[in-house]
Symmetry: C2
Subunit: 338 residues, 2 copies
DNA sequence: TCTTGGCACTCAATGGTCACGAGTGCCAGA
DNA sequence: TCTGGCACTCGTGACCATTGAGTGCCAAGA
């Protein structure tokens, strides 16, 4: 087990390295932190920390930098979540309050988060599967063509074209609209398939084909949109990554363009639990030198989606975690109000 | 006026420089192109081209690279639009055909364009002001709360919350919905304000407040959404910019995150006319070493929005222009079908 | 047993010198 | 007007010495 002082040395190394972006040596450490011991003692501690794999040397005659394992210990044991200043909180609130619709909320959130953390921000749209139905609308565009519009309690709207096997009467459509809504409004999306299962049977035989077609499009929409929509922003912050970043930045940008990777990135964060993935803890190879801080947000007590930031492993964890948490809370509030 | 051969030399320089990314000298030129003259002659031509400002030397003992003015001449006079191969055309078609809704069309387009040109792609959503109304839906969410949903002929959907001054009866809402739709469906968005102007007067005095509120939200939506939505992709391609790009890539990424800048970028491209903005021809300072190739696309004969790519001034103009034009055409077709 | 000062050692970074060679401009001759 | 020849420029890369931050280890002290 590591002694108290060695943990203190690790904390100092992480803080200095995050600040200066340069390997930190024993002498500099004792000068910048009141450790109460001499550089030689710190060197011994450093050697021990290196043996345990918490820090490493880029080359023999250089200072030490934290390893992924070192950051992990720092985040788990040594660092808290730094609360935002009052000014920052007010800025968040006023920035988000101006939003006019869901797209706007998400757009503003991503910009806000990127600006606040000076890193890349990722925000997921409220998930369909965890939302409830607010309304289903059916519009006849042509005799055998129907537009299906799906509205969620979080304000998200999805639409689909439906080509029907036969012309649809306005009465039939109105009938279907009414019955469909009476069954599904207020229900969770996951319940919808069960709730509409027997609906075609209650229609005239002539209309059953059409009804089935519309319903199956509806169900398809639910499935497809389970692959959630994401918005990212602040990619310009990637340029602050490091000096050598031609090789670093490329795979990160590539990873950020793949929905699948991004979704995995946000991972199993929940409303209450913030996740921090550090360096190699990310499955994706291109993200081996980045860390991800993510948390769920929701309109009620429950998370409907996630948001987070992606930055270099060498990031200000307490500050970033504070910003992510605060933004998630405010977005949750905004959604609950709408 | 420049002689025929000097233009030929310029063309060769542009082609070689685009290929190799290195300044090209007189000797290499005569070896790689059948100019029929000696290096010494080419040197004279180069000196002339440099006097005219079409090419420049990074330093005394280096080859020449084209200037913005040189690329301009190349694009205007020396290069055509390179048509895509059959395989490429088929790939475009099959890739876009799988799209399920407008979001998907736009998303696929941006990925396709980025992949095809290996540059950053920008696609604008079909503009509201140039579209026509397909349907307006009003939903009562609470006694005094209405959701307004606006659907365009290009499949775009916008929604807004409306807080009414007084509770709204379902009858009133149905009435308003019907009258509103009968007036505006099939009309251009720019016409809508005129068409609904006198609508409140035809309602009972009690309901006029509500009707006015709903209508003013509708009009607001039209105005707000005139600032169009854009999607970008392929930012990872920025890493192929050059060797020195820490300084180059930063302002580009920043510029790409600003809607306003992007919209200006797509500029006055129209359906028929493709625009090419080279280097300093872009107003935005961060984009001084990039070129933009943009063109309008539309469901009918008319452009409803624009798309394009952003890349280094040193780009393959004929190929890029070919890809941009082809993608715009296919997207237009897809939209016309939906 | 832990801490400390001293000391020799390592090695990246810095800067200077030098040879190389791609590329140029200019000129005289065809 | 084109061409071959030639002297000149200057960025590049190799080589080398210097410097200094940082280390590991050891012996002495608390």
């Amino acid at each position: 087990m590591l002694s108290e002082r060695r943990l203190e040395v690790l904390r100092a190394i992480v803080q200095d390295y995050v600040g200066t972006e340069e390997p930190v040596g024993s002498k500099a450490l004792t000068e910048r932190h009141r450790l109460g011991v001499s550089p030689a003692t710190v060197r011994n501690d450093m050697a021990a920390l290196e043996d345990e794999g918490f820090i490493a040397q880029p080359h023999t005659s250089a200072g030490r930098i934290p390893t992924d394992k070192g950051y992990r210990l720092f985040v788990d044991k040594l660092a808290g979540v730094k609360p935002l200043s009052g000014a920052e909180r007010r800025a968040i609130q006023s920035f988000l309050d101006g939003a006019v619709d869901l797209d706007d909320v998400v757009g503003r959130t991503v910009r806000l988060l990127a600006q606040l953390t000076r890193q890349v921000a990722v925000v997921q749209y409220p998930s369909l599967t965890r939302s409830t139905v607010r309304h289903v609308e059916l519009l006849a565009l042509a005799p055998a063509r129907v537009m299906l519009v799906l509205i969620t309690d979080t304000g998200r709207v999805e639409q689909r074209m439906v080509d029907c096997p036969a012309p649809v009467g306005e009465n039939t459509l109105a009938d279907l609209r009414a019955r469909l809504n009476s069954r599904v409004v207020g229900q969770r999306f996951t319940e919808v398939p069960r709730l509409v299962q027997d609906l075609p049977e209650s229609f005239e035989p002539d209309d059953r084909g059409t009804v089935s077609t519309v319903l199956s499009t509806l169900l398809e929409t639910l499935v497809e949109e389970t692959e959630e929509r994401l918005v990212i922003g602040g990619t310009a912050n990637l340029t602050r990554f490091g000096h050598d970043f031609p090789l670093t930045i490329r795979p990160v940008l590539e990873a950020l363009e793949e929905q699948v990777v991004l979704l995995k990135l946000l991972g199993e964060a929940t409303d209450s639990r913030m996740t921090v993935r550090i360096g190699h803890e990310n499955d994706h190879e291109g993200l081996n030198s980045t860390s991800v801080v993510a948390v769920g947000y929701g309109s009620g007590g429950e998370a409907v989606a996630k948001l987070g930031v992606v930055g270099p492993t060498r990031m200000d964890y307490p500050g970033t975690m504070g910003a992510v948490r605060a933004v998630a809370r405010y977005v949750g509030q905004i959604l609950a109000e709408s």
